[in-house]
């Protein structure tokens, strides 16, 4: 297991290098000019050219890349081009913290709920309840989060005034208030993920229930609760854990739409604005952090799967 984890961690390095090169190259293609963005459309061309030179934007791309990479790997992430008073590290730290909080809050609700719903549906396969759960969870998955998000805000924030329209409490609010503000944005995430994860859990449960060892356990006289928790769940959740692992990365780094609708300063939003505004140091840092999260969450999922299923553990 240690070798498996070590190998996966080592593989992350070339992946991150490749990602950083791709992002650097792609950001060159984006229209616009950094000096022009900073000074605006009405500044003189000479001032723009001067600023581009000061920022090193007129150097060849490979020179700029290696300069940036050299600083990055030694922990000097630089200053944002947009927010020159802030270090990239402080921005990413702040944004990542926000994203982790939202993702964690959503996962705490999504994971047990969707697993419970999926296993329940699988245990009552082909029943009316199973059909209702399957159809409704699938329907919720296809509703885009910007649609469900806005509808929720209009109903619960504007019309009923039960919940706030944004996910960010006023500055100086106690930490616990943040969870109150995260209720509404967590709901569209739940609607999206619940169907997806629940169906995986249902499929896994149905497959395991057909196995001979489950029939043996039942015929041995074990209580159904023990059969489900000791034998069914452990095997049924293998594909579900894999899916959850792949979704964690999206929940942390891919929530641009939710962050926009609910005005939440997460890492997804910062990444988009950094790309649009040619803020290369911030863009690179955000993308690499998100890439690391994706890879680590998949690794953790694989480790959990290996722990659940000794055959996988031994073969790896």
């Amino acid at each position: 297991m240690a070798r498996f984890i070590g190998r996966r961690l080592l593989l992350m390095v070339p992946t991150l290098v490749l990602v950083s090169i791709l992002v650097f190259a792609l950001s060159e293609i984006l229209p616009g000019d950094l000096g022009r963005f900073i000074l605006g459309p009405y500044a003189s061309q000479s001032a723009v050219t001067q600023l581009d030179h000061k920022l090193g934007f007129d150097k060849p791309i490979y020179v700029r890349y290696f300069e940036w990479a050299g600083h990055f790997v030694t922990g000097h992430w630089g200053t944002s081009y947009q927010y020159t008073n802030l270090s990239v590290f402080s921005i990413v730290e702040h944004a990542l913290g926000n994203s982790l909080l939202l993702a964690g809050f959503a996962l705490v609700i999504i994971v047990p709920t969707s697993i419970a719903v999926g296993v329940f549906a699988g245990l009552r396969r082909d029943s009316l309840l199973d059909r209702i759960i399957t159809v409704s969870s699938l329907s919720m998955t296809v509703i885009p989060e910007f649609v469900s998000g806005v509808i929720l805000i209009v109903i619960f924030a504007v019309e009923l005034n039960w919940l706030p329209a944004s996910a960010t409490p006023p500055v100086g609010s106690p930490f616990v208030d943040r969870f109150y503000y995260l209720i509404l944005p967590a709901i569209p995430l739940m609607l999206l993920e619940l169907g997806y994860i629940a169906r995986m859990a249902r499929a896994g449960t149905v497959q395991v229930l057909n196995q001979p060892y489950i029939r043996t356990a039942t015929l041995k006289g074990l209580p159904q609760r023990r059969v489900v928790f000791s034998h069914v769940l452990r095997n049924a959740l293998v594909p579900t854990v894999t899916v959850i692992g792949s979704q964690v990365g999206w929940l942390i780094g891919g929530l641009v739409v939710i962050e926009t609708v609910f005005v939440y300063p997460g890492i997804g939003n910062y990444t988009v604005h950094a790309a649009l505004n040619h803020d290369q140091p911030l863009l690179e840092a955000c993308v690499l952090v998100i890439a690391v999260i994706y890879m680590v969450s998949n690794l953790v999922a694989d480790v959990v799967v290996a722990l659940l299923n000794p055959r996988i553990r031994k073969s790896s």
């Binding site: 984006l30 229209p31 616009g32 000019d33 022009r36 963005f37 900073i38 000074l39 605006g40 459309p41 009405y42 500044a43 003189s44 061309q45 000479s46 001032a47 723009v48 050219t49 001067q50 600023l51 081009y81 947009q82 927010y83 020159t84 008073n85 802030l86 921005i91 806005v150 805000i153 209009v154 924030a157 504007v158 005034n161 706030p164 329209a165 944004s166 960010t168 006023p170 500055v171 926009t260 609708v261 609910f262 005005v263 300063p265 939003n269 910062y270 604005h273 649009l276 505004n277």
Partner: protein
């Protein structure tokens, strides 16, 4: 009844007729002018007319008679877009940055709700006989919020800074050809003299809050405004959370007092919630997480504009969506073709489609009395396909023509482009729309950037305080921001004369000539002047400023 009383009564009657919908504002101008009311009075009457339609409770901002008594204390929350970059008054150009700087720093001159000049850090401003030297006397007893005294040296440093080519300030282009470095001097501690390159009657506007880079900063300012936000304004930044919020507290040493002698500002603090996109901002306003939205965008704002809890203030602003014909590029050298496009437009329909009918119509000239009171009334250009086809034929395209219109994917610009294309088609002018990103339209150098070089392009312009400032910015061969590259010697000669005199009668005659030349030659289309909307909860009063980034909260208060 005296003549004065009679004039006042007649003025009230005209306003009532407009408010009842029995008369348009244009008709008010005509009748008031025939009656002999002065341009100043006409402007006041127009301001009293306020909203030109829409749902919700739209009111004239100057109708303060019904406002409840002032309540001091409390916090007002406003939602604005986040500053695009670190705050620096010298180089700001975005709405979020301008609004924030406007709270902390001040200008020599400010604008009233009707775009008139209002003394701020300058008390008086006078030209010499020739109009090329302006002398400003400064307000005394003012200090910056760090305790240092405000003096003429600070003004000199601030203006010199923005016209220094190395600063990268947008003010450099605005003042190019009018004020050169080294020509601003302190006569004494509270008198400043501007020695202009040429006479320019509208010069005070160029150092007013409408020229947002000319905020007066301490003489030793070191491009560190966000770290040390020093200004003479009513507010001080207490906490700045990037992309989230800005908290300001009142400046205890602020010089301002209201008409009753009460210390300003009334409120204890301001909180600006930073939201990039309009729909979430609108929802926060409706949810009452914020009290006011300094600028409500028409597009997508129907729910806010029709919310019974909110009050919408409408300001007849001069912001436009310029449609520029690059006369150096085919096929726009021929003015017949340019006019043909102008006669294809149904301006009422465009106004209704884009702004719910709230904006003021334009007729391809900046001298429009509904926006700039006292301007000559231009000839109306209604949609006329027979005329358009005749002009098209005169331009040698009787069988039709294909043209390309470049537009940024920004606000209502794409919708406007679609309307132009659909309205030009029946005349045989096939408009192909080249829609590109906002960054792309401003990318590149001055000789390559699309907004200054495309054959036909839509460019958005924020409000400008006078037609002369607009013309200086984009209609002269020396203009830094001319998308049309128009070069009309008659216009240039008349414009130079117009700006070299402060005599109202002479300026009025020249304004008529300038308006006619601009309209006739049609280097650009100005189909409308966009009204600015400020939306607030009904218990919020006292916010001053003619909309957009002019968010003056010194006299704002929240009624109980």
């Amino acid at each position: 009844m005296t003549d004065e009383q009679y004039a006042r009564e007649y003025g009230h009657h005209l306003v009532e007729e407009v408010l009842k919908g029995k008369m348009t504002r244009r008709q008010l101008i005509v009748r008031a002018s025939v009656f002999g009311l002065s341009a100043t009075v006409v402007g006041q009457l127009l301001a009293a007319c306020g909203s030109s339609g829409g749902g919700g409770t739209a009111t004239t901002p100057s109708a303060s008679a019904s406002a409840p008594a002032v309540v001091t204390g409390g916090t007002l929350k406003a939602v604005i877009p986040p500053p695009l970059k670190t705050l620096d008054p010298v180089t700001i150009y975005d709405q979020g940055g301008i609004v924030l700087v406007y709270q902390v720093a001040e200008y020599l001159i400010d604008l009233s709700n009707t775009n008139a000049l209002v003394p701020k850090l300058a008390l008086t401003w006078k030209p010499n006989q020739k109009g090329d030297v302006w002398t400003f006397t400064l307000r005394q007893g003012v200090t910056f919020n760090d305790g240092s005294p405000f003096e003429a040296a600070d003004v000199v440093a601030s203006i010199e800074r923005v016209i220094n080519p190395k600063s990268g300030s947008g003010a450099l282009a605005a003042l190019a050809g009018i004020l050169s470095p080294g020509h601003t001097k302190a006569v004494d501690t509270h008198t400043v003299e501007f020695d202009l390159d040429k006479p320019f009657a509208d010069f005070p506007y160029l150092v007013s809050s409408s020229s947002y880079n000319t905020a007066i900063l301490p003489r030793n300012y070191d491009n560190d405004f966000q770290k040390k936000p020093v200004g003479t304004g009513p507010w001080m930044i207490k906490k700045f959370v990037t992309n989230q919020s800005v908290t300001m507290v009142k400046n205890p040493s602020y010089w301002g007092k209201d008409a009753q002698g009460r210390q300003l500002p009334y409120l204890d603090s301001l909180e600006f919630v930073l939201v990039t996109d309009a729909p979430p901002a609108n929802l926060q306003l409706q949810n009452h997480q914020v009290d006011v939205q300094p600028q409500t965008v028409f597009q997508g704002g129907a729910s806010v504009l029709n919310d019974p809890n909110l009050r919408v203030d409408v300001y007849p602003s001069s912001g436009i969506r310029e449609v520029a014909f690059n006369i150096n590029k085919a096929p726009w050298q021929d003015k017949n073709l340019r006019q043909a496009v102008a006669y294809c437009l149904d301006r009422n329909a465009i106004n209704k489609a884009l702004y719910g009918g709230r904006s003021n119509l334009g007729y391809d000239t900046f001298w429009e009395p509904t926006v700039f009171p006292g301007s000559p009334t231009p000839a109306v250009r209604a949609q006329d396909y027979d005329k358009a086809k005749s002009l098209l034929s005169a331009a040698g395209h009787a069988n039709g023509i294909d043209v390309t219109l470049t537009v940024a994917n920004y606000l209502e610009n794409p919708a406007y482009a679609q309307l132009i294309a659909s309205q030009c088609k029946p005349a045989g002018i096939n408009v192909k729309i080249n829609e590109i990103s906002y960054n792309a339209i401003y990318a590149g150098s001055n000789s390559t950037t699309p907004w200054l070089n495309a054959p036909m392009v839509i460019v958005e312009w924020g409000s400008r305080p006078t037609p002369g400032v607009y013309a200086q910015a984009m209609l002269l061969p020396t203009s830094a921001w001319s998308s049309s590259h128009w070069n009309n010697p008659d216009f240039v000669t008349a414009f130079n004369s117009y700006e070299s005199t402060t005599d109202e009668s002479t300026r009025s005659t020249l304004a008529t000539k300038l308006s006619q030349i601009q309209q006739d030659d049609t280097p650009i289309l100005v189909a409308f002047f966009i009204s600015q909307l400020r939306t607030q909860w009904k218990n919020v009063y006292g916010i001053q400023g003619p909309g957009s980034f002019y968010f003056n909260a010194a006299q704002a208060y929240i009624a109980k």
